[in-house]
Symmetry: C2
Subunit: 228 residues, 2 copies
DNA sequence: CAGTGGTCTAGACCACTCC
DNA sequence: GAGTGGTCTAGACCACTGG
């Protein structure tokens, strides 16, 4: 069989065995297709997949080279928190912990492209998995461009779910860092103040407008995993 | 023009405008191809890209549905540290901080599939960007399956570079977490003990054998970024 | 200018899965 | 069984880029 997967396996094999060492040009698509007895499109599909994850580098006119660096691109799954908890087989629980109209923090203002005088809705919430704190989140919504919402709207479902019911987000941006739990963070996560926490900040966009900025804090044992 | 990118843009547009709301079936590939006047393969390519990042969900016989969750898959770039520093426009510096043959830690033994009695080579190194500590790393090498190495081999280049010169790694696995800097970590990163640090653990494999396990610690201001 | 990858086409067959 | 996506083919033209 000459599936694109088998072509990919063939190429990976040559690379692993160092028959095609790092930095070296590998045969052209035409040569591979002829050698393997399949269509060039099939070879192209296989090589494109490998180029996507950084195993090889392709340039027109030059050819395809085995990547020299250890750099790799991996796919990182960023599930909705509800999904994340339910996929663990745990019971999902959500509780609203704060709701106020206020000036954004500096980071939130920057992410939402607002000036200091603008107003945002700041929403705090705690997510639990089997009654254990899983994530403490603060969401700032861009009040200018979103329909009005009341505290009651968020008693049962999260700000993200409320948002997803009303608009379709087109893209986002993440930033992952380590931080020290503040007093409020520690109280909600039931950990000691000053404990290291994993912080994920996400900005959600619809077209050219940033709609929400979320800062999610995870307790120390939390791990973000990915493989390739 | 009917490029696959234009088909993707067309579909994204319908989703953003909620003409095709979340959870809804969108037209079949055949219908889209006929409607847009292009080949089904072109539509397939466009829809596959969208499915890859979680915008739509596809199932045979059923059709293609607009994803309902906020879940997204994003591509995370995990560059080699040298590349990461040089891409910032900073001067890369590497210094070996420790070299010993010893029993692996529990995490390292697990990642390398070794038992407690096995030996590993443990290598500690500090990477600097413009003379500022950028990353403190400990690498455990699976001594059983790797060519012997001496301390001198690592005076000028990192364990990863040494490894890449000898074998071709096929895949890896990451785990990202927040941790508290220990005394040794703090000394090398020039921060206070107990400061939160971002920890990235990576296992590197060649085929079915884990070859190395690395634990990289980054100072608090470090951010891992990704967008979609 | 020529060589390489990037893409499109029209048609075909297969794989999965709901009915 | 029938409808949908998944893939392969053979051929074609285009886009980029090195010489």
């Amino acid at each position: 069989m000459n599936t694109w997967q088998s072509v990919r396996a063939y190429v990976l094999d040559r690379i692993r065995s160092r028959e095609w060492p790092p930095g070296e040009l590998i045969p052209t698509e035409q040569e591979l297709a002829a050698g393997l007895g399949c269509a060039r499109a099939t070879v192209n599909r296989a090589l494109r997949e490998l180029a996507d994850i950084g195993i090889i580098e392709r340039r027109r006119k030059v050819g395809t080279r085995v990547a020299t660096t250890l750099a790799r691109r991996t796919v990182l799954d960023m599930p909705a928190i509800r999904t994340e908890i339910e996929d663990m087989g745990a019971i999902y629980a959500y509780a609203l912990a704060g709701f106020s109209v206020e000036a954004p923090t500096e980071a939130a203002a920057h992410a939402l492209q607002l000036s200091a005088g603008d107003e945002t809705v700041a929403i705090k919430a705690i997510y639990c998995a089997d009654d254990l704190p899983h994530c403490f989140e603060t969401v700032w919504l861009n009040a200018r461009v979103l329909p009005p919402l009341k505290r009651e709207d968020l008693e049962r479902k999260s700000a993200h779910e409320w948002l997803a019911d009303r608009v379709t987000l087109t893209h986002g941006h993440f930033s992952i860092m380590a931080d020290r739990a503040g007093a409020e963070d520690a109280r909600h996560l039931k950990i000691e103040e000053g404990t290291p926490v994993l912080a994920i900040e996400r900005t959600n966009w619809a077209d050219t407008t940033p709609l929400s900025f979320a800062r999610q804090l995870y307790p120390p044992q939390h791990r973000l995993m990915s493989g390739d």
